[in-house]
Symmetry: C2
DNA sequence: CGATTCATGTAACTTGTTACATGATTAG
DNA sequence: CTAATCATGTAACAAGTTACATGAATCG
Protein backbone atom coordinates (compact mmCIF):
# COMPACT_ATOMS: atom_id res chain seq x y z
CA UNK A 1 0.00 0.00 0.00
CA UNK A 2 1.81 3.05 -1.33
CA UNK A 3 1.23 6.03 0.96
CA UNK A 4 0.66 9.45 -0.61
CA UNK A 5 2.70 12.32 0.81
CA UNK A 6 -0.19 13.56 2.90
CA UNK A 7 -1.06 10.03 4.01
CA UNK A 8 2.34 9.87 5.69
CA UNK A 9 1.63 12.67 8.15
CA UNK A 10 -2.01 11.84 8.56
CA UNK A 11 -1.52 8.17 9.29
CA UNK A 12 1.59 8.90 11.36
CA UNK A 13 -0.16 11.44 13.53
CA UNK A 14 -3.14 9.18 14.16
CA UNK A 15 -0.67 6.46 15.14
CA UNK A 16 0.95 8.91 17.57
CA UNK A 17 -2.44 9.41 19.22
CA UNK A 18 -4.19 12.22 17.41
CA UNK A 19 -7.85 11.44 16.89
CA UNK A 20 -9.57 13.86 14.51
CA UNK A 21 -8.85 15.84 11.37
CA UNK A 22 -8.98 18.96 13.45
CA UNK A 23 -6.40 17.59 15.89
CA UNK A 24 -4.13 16.72 13.00
CA UNK A 25 -4.34 20.21 11.60
CA UNK A 26 -3.50 21.75 14.97
CA UNK A 27 -0.52 19.46 15.47
CA UNK A 28 0.74 20.03 11.95
CA UNK A 29 0.69 23.77 12.58
CA UNK A 30 2.62 23.66 15.80
CA UNK A 31 4.89 20.74 15.05
CA UNK A 32 5.42 19.56 11.51
CA UNK A 33 4.58 22.61 9.38
CA UNK A 34 8.27 23.49 9.21
CA UNK A 35 9.15 20.31 7.35
CA UNK A 36 5.79 18.83 6.34
CA UNK A 37 2.67 20.94 5.85
CA UNK A 38 -0.94 19.88 5.31
CA UNK A 39 -4.14 21.87 4.84
CA UNK A 40 -7.74 20.94 5.56
CA UNK A 41 -8.24 20.47 1.86
CA UNK A 42 -5.71 17.65 2.07
CA UNK A 43 -6.40 16.22 5.50
CA UNK A 44 -10.12 15.47 5.39
CA UNK A 45 -10.14 13.85 1.95
CA UNK A 46 -7.04 11.87 2.93
CA UNK A 47 -8.70 10.58 6.12
CA UNK A 48 -11.66 9.42 4.03
CA UNK A 49 -9.39 7.72 1.53
CA UNK A 50 -7.40 5.96 4.24
CA UNK A 51 -10.60 4.69 5.81
CA UNK A 52 -11.94 3.53 2.45
CA UNK A 53 -8.66 1.67 1.93
CA UNK A 54 -8.93 0.06 5.36
CA UNK A 55 -5.91 1.71 6.98
CA UNK A 56 -8.06 3.70 9.40
CA UNK A 57 -11.44 3.30 11.05
CA UNK A 58 -13.53 6.08 12.47
CA UNK A 59 -16.55 6.51 14.68
CA UNK A 60 -18.37 9.59 15.85
CA UNK A 61 -17.88 10.05 19.56
CA UNK A 62 -18.25 12.40 22.48
CA UNK A 63 -20.63 15.30 23.09
CA UNK A 64 -19.43 16.98 19.90
CA UNK A 65 -19.82 13.83 17.79
CA UNK A 66 -16.29 14.27 16.51
CA UNK A 67 -15.13 11.76 13.93
CA UNK A 68 -12.36 9.96 15.78
CA UNK A 69 -9.96 7.75 13.88
CA UNK A 70 -7.87 4.76 14.87
CA UNK A 71 -5.21 2.88 12.94
CA UNK A 72 -6.20 -0.63 11.78
CA UNK A 73 -3.72 -3.54 11.63
CA UNK A 74 -3.45 -2.92 7.87
CA UNK A 75 -2.72 0.74 8.59
CA UNK A 76 -0.10 -0.26 11.12
CA UNK A 77 1.57 -2.49 8.54
CA UNK A 78 1.52 0.20 5.86
CA UNK A 79 2.99 2.71 8.28
CA UNK A 80 5.76 0.40 9.41
CA UNK A 81 6.53 -0.59 5.85
CA UNK A 82 7.08 3.07 5.01
CA UNK A 83 9.04 3.82 8.18
CA UNK A 84 11.42 0.92 7.56
CA UNK A 85 11.62 1.37 3.80
CA UNK A 86 15.02 2.49 2.54
CA UNK A 87 13.65 4.23 -0.56
CA UNK A 88 15.37 7.57 -1.09
CA UNK A 89 14.12 10.07 1.45
CA UNK A 90 12.07 12.65 -0.36
CA UNK A 91 13.35 16.15 0.20
CA UNK A 92 12.39 19.44 -1.37
CA UNK A 93 12.65 23.09 -0.50
CA UNK A 94 11.28 26.32 -1.90
CA UNK A 95 13.19 29.25 -0.47
CA UNK A 96 12.50 32.65 -1.96
CA UNK A 97 15.31 34.27 0.02
CA UNK A 98 17.83 31.90 -1.53
CA UNK A 99 16.39 32.48 -4.99
CA UNK A 100 16.88 36.21 -4.50
CA UNK A 101 20.40 35.52 -3.32
CA UNK A 102 20.99 33.51 -6.47
CA UNK A 103 19.76 36.42 -8.57
CA UNK A 104 21.80 38.94 -6.58
CA UNK A 105 23.78 39.97 -9.67
CA UNK A 106 20.64 41.69 -10.92
CA UNK A 107 20.46 44.17 -8.04
CA UNK A 108 22.71 46.53 -6.08
CA UNK A 109 24.13 46.11 -2.60
CA UNK A 110 21.28 48.09 -1.03
CA UNK A 111 18.79 45.58 -2.35
CA UNK A 112 20.96 42.69 -1.28
CA UNK A 113 21.12 44.05 2.25
CA UNK A 114 17.37 44.55 2.37
CA UNK A 115 16.91 40.93 1.37
CA UNK A 116 19.27 39.70 4.06
CA UNK A 117 17.64 41.82 6.72
CA UNK A 118 14.26 40.42 5.78
CA UNK A 119 15.57 36.87 5.88
CA UNK A 120 17.11 37.39 9.31
CA UNK A 121 13.91 38.97 10.56
CA UNK A 122 11.71 36.13 9.34
CA UNK A 123 14.21 33.72 10.81
CA UNK A 124 13.86 35.41 14.20
CA UNK A 125 10.07 35.20 14.02
CA UNK A 126 10.20 31.49 13.29
CA UNK A 127 12.69 31.00 16.09
CA UNK A 128 10.47 32.87 18.54
CA UNK A 129 7.54 30.67 17.55
CA UNK A 130 9.57 27.50 18.03
CA UNK A 131 10.73 28.66 21.43
CA UNK A 132 7.15 29.13 22.61
CA UNK A 133 6.51 25.53 21.64
CA UNK A 134 9.69 24.44 23.36
CA UNK A 135 8.47 26.30 26.45
CA UNK A 136 5.35 24.13 26.57
CA UNK A 137 7.68 21.33 27.52
CA UNK A 138 8.08 19.54 24.21
CA UNK A 139 11.29 17.57 24.01
CA UNK A 140 10.71 16.39 20.47
CA UNK A 141 13.93 15.90 18.52
CA UNK A 142 12.38 17.40 15.39
CA UNK A 143 11.75 20.61 17.29
CA UNK A 144 15.35 20.62 18.49
CA UNK A 145 16.44 20.22 14.88
CA UNK A 146 14.27 23.17 13.86
CA UNK A 147 15.71 25.42 16.53
CA UNK A 148 19.29 24.36 15.83
CA UNK A 149 18.77 24.95 12.13
CA UNK A 150 17.29 28.41 12.62
CA UNK A 151 20.18 29.38 14.87
CA UNK A 152 22.70 28.18 12.33
CA UNK A 153 20.78 29.91 9.55
CA UNK A 154 20.72 33.23 11.39
CA UNK A 155 24.47 32.98 11.78
CA UNK A 156 25.05 32.24 8.11
CA UNK A 157 23.05 35.24 6.95
CA UNK A 158 24.67 37.54 9.51
CA UNK A 159 28.08 36.52 8.25
CA UNK A 160 26.93 37.16 4.67
CA UNK A 161 25.67 40.56 5.75
CA UNK A 162 29.06 41.36 7.23
CA UNK A 163 30.76 40.39 3.97
CA UNK A 164 28.39 42.64 2.08
CA UNK A 165 29.05 45.57 4.38
CA UNK A 166 32.79 45.09 4.25
CA UNK A 167 32.62 45.09 0.47
CA UNK A 168 30.41 48.20 0.43
CA UNK A 169 33.02 50.18 2.33
CA UNK A 170 35.55 49.58 -0.40
CA UNK A 171 35.04 50.71 -3.99
CA UNK A 172 33.37 47.98 -6.04
CA UNK A 173 35.87 45.91 -7.99
CA UNK A 174 33.80 43.97 -10.49
CA UNK A 175 30.73 45.70 -11.88
CA UNK A 176 27.46 45.22 -10.11
CA UNK A 177 25.67 45.55 -13.42
CA UNK A 178 28.14 43.52 -15.43
CA UNK A 179 26.75 40.91 -17.79
CA UNK A 180 25.79 37.80 -15.89
CA UNK A 181 28.49 35.22 -15.67
CA UNK A 182 27.74 31.92 -14.02
CA UNK B 1 2.23 41.93 -12.76
CA UNK B 2 2.17 39.18 -10.15
CA UNK B 3 4.78 36.54 -10.92
CA UNK B 4 3.87 32.89 -10.43
CA UNK B 5 6.39 30.78 -8.50
CA UNK B 6 7.84 29.29 -11.65
CA UNK B 7 7.88 32.68 -13.38
CA UNK B 8 10.34 33.85 -10.74
CA UNK B 9 13.06 31.39 -11.72
CA UNK B 10 12.27 31.46 -15.39
CA UNK B 11 12.30 35.23 -15.75
CA UNK B 12 15.22 35.52 -13.36
CA UNK B 13 17.35 33.04 -15.27
CA UNK B 14 16.62 34.69 -18.62
CA UNK B 15 17.63 38.00 -17.04
CA UNK B 16 20.88 36.38 -15.89
CA UNK B 17 21.60 35.44 -19.48
CA UNK B 18 20.04 32.03 -20.13
CA UNK B 19 18.39 31.91 -23.51
CA UNK B 20 16.23 28.83 -24.00
CA UNK B 21 13.91 26.57 -22.05
CA UNK B 22 16.50 23.87 -22.32
CA UNK B 23 19.19 26.14 -20.87
CA UNK B 24 16.91 27.01 -17.98
CA UNK B 25 16.31 23.36 -17.20
CA UNK B 26 20.01 22.63 -17.19
CA UNK B 27 20.80 25.56 -14.93
CA UNK B 28 17.97 24.72 -12.57
CA UNK B 29 19.37 21.22 -12.22
CA UNK B 30 22.88 22.23 -11.39
CA UNK B 31 22.16 25.44 -9.51
CA UNK B 32 18.73 26.11 -8.10
CA UNK B 33 17.17 22.67 -7.76
CA UNK B 34 18.22 22.58 -4.11
CA UNK B 35 16.00 25.54 -3.21
CA UNK B 36 13.80 26.07 -6.28
CA UNK B 37 12.98 23.30 -8.72
CA UNK B 38 11.25 23.43 -12.10
CA UNK B 39 10.39 20.74 -14.64
CA UNK B 40 9.88 20.97 -18.40
CA UNK B 41 6.16 20.73 -17.81
CA UNK B 42 6.46 24.02 -15.94
CA UNK B 43 9.17 25.79 -17.87
CA UNK B 44 7.89 25.69 -21.45
CA UNK B 45 4.30 26.71 -20.68
CA UNK B 46 5.63 29.44 -18.38
CA UNK B 47 7.88 30.85 -21.11
CA UNK B 48 4.87 30.99 -23.42
CA UNK B 49 2.78 32.71 -20.80
CA UNK B 50 5.48 35.26 -20.06
CA UNK B 51 5.79 36.05 -23.75
CA UNK B 52 2.03 36.34 -24.16
CA UNK B 53 2.02 38.77 -21.19
CA UNK B 54 4.82 40.80 -22.78
CA UNK B 55 7.53 40.11 -20.17
CA UNK B 56 9.64 38.13 -22.62
CA UNK B 57 10.16 38.05 -26.38
CA UNK B 58 11.55 35.14 -28.34
CA UNK B 59 12.88 34.42 -31.75
CA UNK B 60 14.17 31.26 -33.35
CA UNK B 61 17.89 31.53 -33.96
CA UNK B 62 21.05 29.65 -34.81
CA UNK B 63 21.59 26.45 -36.75
CA UNK B 64 19.30 24.60 -34.38
CA UNK B 65 16.52 27.18 -34.62
CA UNK B 66 16.37 27.32 -30.85
CA UNK B 67 13.71 29.56 -29.37
CA UNK B 68 15.80 32.20 -27.64
CA UNK B 69 14.20 34.53 -25.15
CA UNK B 70 15.06 38.02 -23.97
CA UNK B 71 13.55 40.11 -21.17
CA UNK B 72 11.44 43.07 -22.30
CA UNK B 73 11.33 46.39 -20.41
CA UNK B 74 8.03 45.27 -18.89
CA UNK B 75 9.68 42.02 -17.85
CA UNK B 76 12.56 43.96 -16.33
CA UNK B 77 10.11 46.06 -14.32
CA UNK B 78 8.18 43.02 -13.11
CA UNK B 79 11.40 41.31 -12.09
CA UNK B 80 12.71 44.32 -10.20
CA UNK B 81 9.36 44.85 -8.53
CA UNK B 82 9.51 41.34 -7.16
CA UNK B 83 13.19 41.52 -6.19
CA UNK B 84 12.63 44.73 -4.23
CA UNK B 85 9.26 43.76 -2.80
CA UNK B 86 9.24 43.21 0.95
CA UNK B 87 6.35 40.74 0.91
CA UNK B 88 7.05 37.81 3.21
CA UNK B 89 9.62 35.54 1.66
CA UNK B 90 7.93 32.33 0.70
CA UNK B 91 9.57 29.32 2.30
CA UNK B 92 8.55 25.69 2.42
CA UNK B 93 10.23 22.37 2.97
CA UNK B 94 9.25 18.76 2.63
CA UNK B 95 11.74 16.57 4.44
CA UNK B 96 10.91 12.91 4.80
CA UNK B 97 13.87 12.26 7.08
CA UNK B 98 12.59 14.84 9.54
CA UNK B 99 9.09 13.43 9.35
CA UNK B 100 10.48 10.02 10.26
CA UNK B 101 12.40 11.63 13.09
CA UNK B 102 9.16 13.21 14.29
CA UNK B 103 7.51 9.79 14.26
CA UNK B 104 10.48 8.13 15.95
CA UNK B 105 8.35 7.07 18.94
CA UNK B 106 6.68 4.54 16.66
CA UNK B 107 9.87 2.57 15.99
CA UNK B 108 12.83 1.09 17.85
CA UNK B 109 16.39 2.36 18.03
CA UNK B 110 17.50 0.08 15.21
CA UNK B 111 15.04 1.74 12.87
CA UNK B 112 16.01 5.18 14.12
CA UNK B 113 19.66 4.45 13.39
CA UNK B 114 18.85 3.18 9.91
CA UNK B 115 17.01 6.42 9.22
CA UNK B 116 19.92 8.54 10.40
CA UNK B 117 22.41 6.57 8.38
CA UNK B 118 20.31 7.02 5.29
CA UNK B 119 20.00 10.74 5.91
CA UNK B 120 23.73 11.12 6.37
CA UNK B 121 24.38 9.10 3.24
CA UNK B 122 22.02 11.16 1.10
CA UNK B 123 23.54 14.27 2.59
CA UNK B 124 27.00 13.10 1.48
CA UNK B 125 25.74 12.46 -2.03
CA UNK B 126 24.30 15.94 -2.28
CA UNK B 127 27.48 17.41 -0.89
CA UNK B 128 29.58 15.51 -3.44
CA UNK B 129 27.37 16.83 -6.23
CA UNK B 130 27.68 20.41 -4.98
CA UNK B 131 31.43 20.08 -4.76
CA UNK B 132 31.67 19.04 -8.39
CA UNK B 133 29.80 22.21 -9.28
CA UNK B 134 32.05 24.23 -7.00
CA UNK B 135 35.02 22.66 -8.79
CA UNK B 136 33.81 24.10 -12.09
CA UNK B 137 34.75 27.46 -10.63
CA UNK B 138 31.36 28.74 -9.53
CA UNK B 139 31.62 31.29 -6.78
CA UNK B 140 27.87 31.75 -6.41
CA UNK B 141 26.82 32.60 -2.88
CA UNK B 142 23.79 30.34 -3.14
CA UNK B 143 26.11 27.40 -3.80
CA UNK B 144 28.21 28.36 -0.80
CA UNK B 145 25.04 28.40 1.27
CA UNK B 146 24.13 24.94 0.03
CA UNK B 147 27.52 23.50 0.91
CA UNK B 148 27.61 25.18 4.31
CA UNK B 149 24.13 23.91 5.06
CA UNK B 150 24.94 20.33 4.07
CA UNK B 151 28.03 20.39 6.24
CA UNK B 152 26.09 21.68 9.20
CA UNK B 153 23.35 19.15 8.54
CA UNK B 154 25.79 16.25 8.44
CA UNK B 155 27.12 17.36 11.80
CA UNK B 156 23.67 17.59 13.36
CA UNK B 157 22.69 14.09 12.33
CA UNK B 158 26.02 12.65 13.41
CA UNK B 159 25.55 14.17 16.85
CA UNK B 160 22.04 12.74 16.97
CA UNK B 161 23.43 9.37 15.99
CA UNK B 162 25.91 9.57 18.85
CA UNK B 163 23.12 10.36 21.30
CA UNK B 164 21.19 7.36 20.01
CA UNK B 165 24.14 5.05 20.40
CA UNK B 166 24.95 6.32 23.86
CA UNK B 167 21.36 5.67 24.88
CA UNK B 168 21.40 2.21 23.31
CA UNK B 169 24.32 1.18 25.51
CA UNK B 170 22.29 1.88 28.63
CA UNK B 171 19.02 0.08 29.41
CA UNK B 172 16.06 2.03 28.05
CA UNK B 173 14.48 4.23 30.68
CA UNK B 174 11.15 5.34 29.22
CA UNK B 175 9.36 2.82 27.04
CA UNK B 176 10.07 2.85 23.36
CA UNK B 177 6.53 1.71 22.75
CA UNK B 178 4.90 3.88 25.39
CA UNK B 179 1.74 5.75 24.43
CA UNK B 180 2.61 8.85 22.47
CA UNK B 181 3.00 11.99 24.51
CA UNK B 182 3.63 15.21 22.71
C1' DC C 1 -25.65 36.86 24.52
C1' DG C 2 -21.82 37.40 21.54
C1' DA C 3 -17.26 36.04 20.31
C1' DT C 4 -14.26 32.46 19.93
C1' DT C 5 -12.94 27.98 19.26
C1' DC C 6 -14.13 23.45 17.88
C1' DA C 7 -15.24 20.73 14.02
C1' DT C 8 -16.06 18.95 9.27
C1' DG C 9 -16.18 19.52 4.98
C1' DT C 10 -16.09 21.07 -0.33
C1' DA C 11 -15.31 23.55 -4.84
C1' DA C 12 -12.49 26.01 -7.67
C1' DC C 13 -8.21 26.70 -8.64
C1' DT C 14 -3.07 26.66 -9.01
C1' DT C 15 0.97 24.25 -9.07
C1' DG C 16 3.89 20.60 -10.11
C1' DT C 17 5.27 15.73 -11.79
C1' DT C 18 5.79 12.04 -15.00
C1' DA C 19 6.03 10.04 -18.99
C1' DC C 20 5.80 10.25 -23.53
C1' DA C 21 6.44 12.00 -28.48
C1' DT C 22 9.27 13.92 -31.83
C1' DG C 23 13.11 15.15 -34.34
C1' DA C 24 17.71 17.53 -35.20
C1' DT C 25 22.67 17.63 -34.40
C1' DT C 26 26.96 16.06 -32.75
C1' DA C 27 30.55 12.84 -30.91
C1' DG C 28 32.86 8.62 -31.19
C1' DC D 1 26.27 4.43 -38.06
C1' DT D 2 24.58 4.86 -33.64
C1' DA D 3 24.40 6.64 -29.23
C1' DA D 4 24.15 10.65 -26.77
C1' DT D 5 22.82 15.14 -26.30
C1' DC D 6 20.27 19.06 -27.75
C1' DA D 7 15.75 20.86 -28.07
C1' DT D 8 10.68 21.63 -27.64
C1' DG D 9 6.75 20.37 -26.33
C1' DT D 10 2.10 18.03 -24.38
C1' DA D 11 -1.34 15.12 -21.88
C1' DA D 12 -2.70 12.91 -17.95
C1' DC D 13 -2.35 13.06 -13.52
C1' DA D 14 -1.20 14.11 -8.60
C1' DA D 15 -0.79 17.34 -5.04
C1' DG D 16 -1.70 21.37 -2.64
C1' DT D 17 -3.99 26.08 -1.56
C1' DT D 18 -7.64 29.18 -0.65
C1' DA D 19 -11.77 30.53 0.44
C1' DC D 20 -16.02 29.52 1.66
C1' DA D 21 -20.10 27.17 4.05
C1' DT D 22 -22.08 25.34 8.04
C1' DG D 23 -23.13 24.60 12.63
C1' DA D 24 -22.24 23.12 17.59
C1' DA D 25 -20.11 24.05 22.05
C1' DT D 26 -17.81 26.91 25.19
C1' DC D 27 -15.97 31.07 27.39
C1' DG D 28 -16.41 35.53 29.37
Amino acid sequence: MELSPTAKVVLGLIALGERTGYDIKRTVERSTAFFWGASYGQIYPELERLERDGLLVSERRGPRRRREYRVTPAGERALRAWLSSRDPLWFSTRDEGLLKLFLADLVDDGERLANVRQIVEQNEEALAFFRTIEATGSTAEALAYGIDFLEWNAGWWRRYERRLRARARKPPRSGTSAPARR
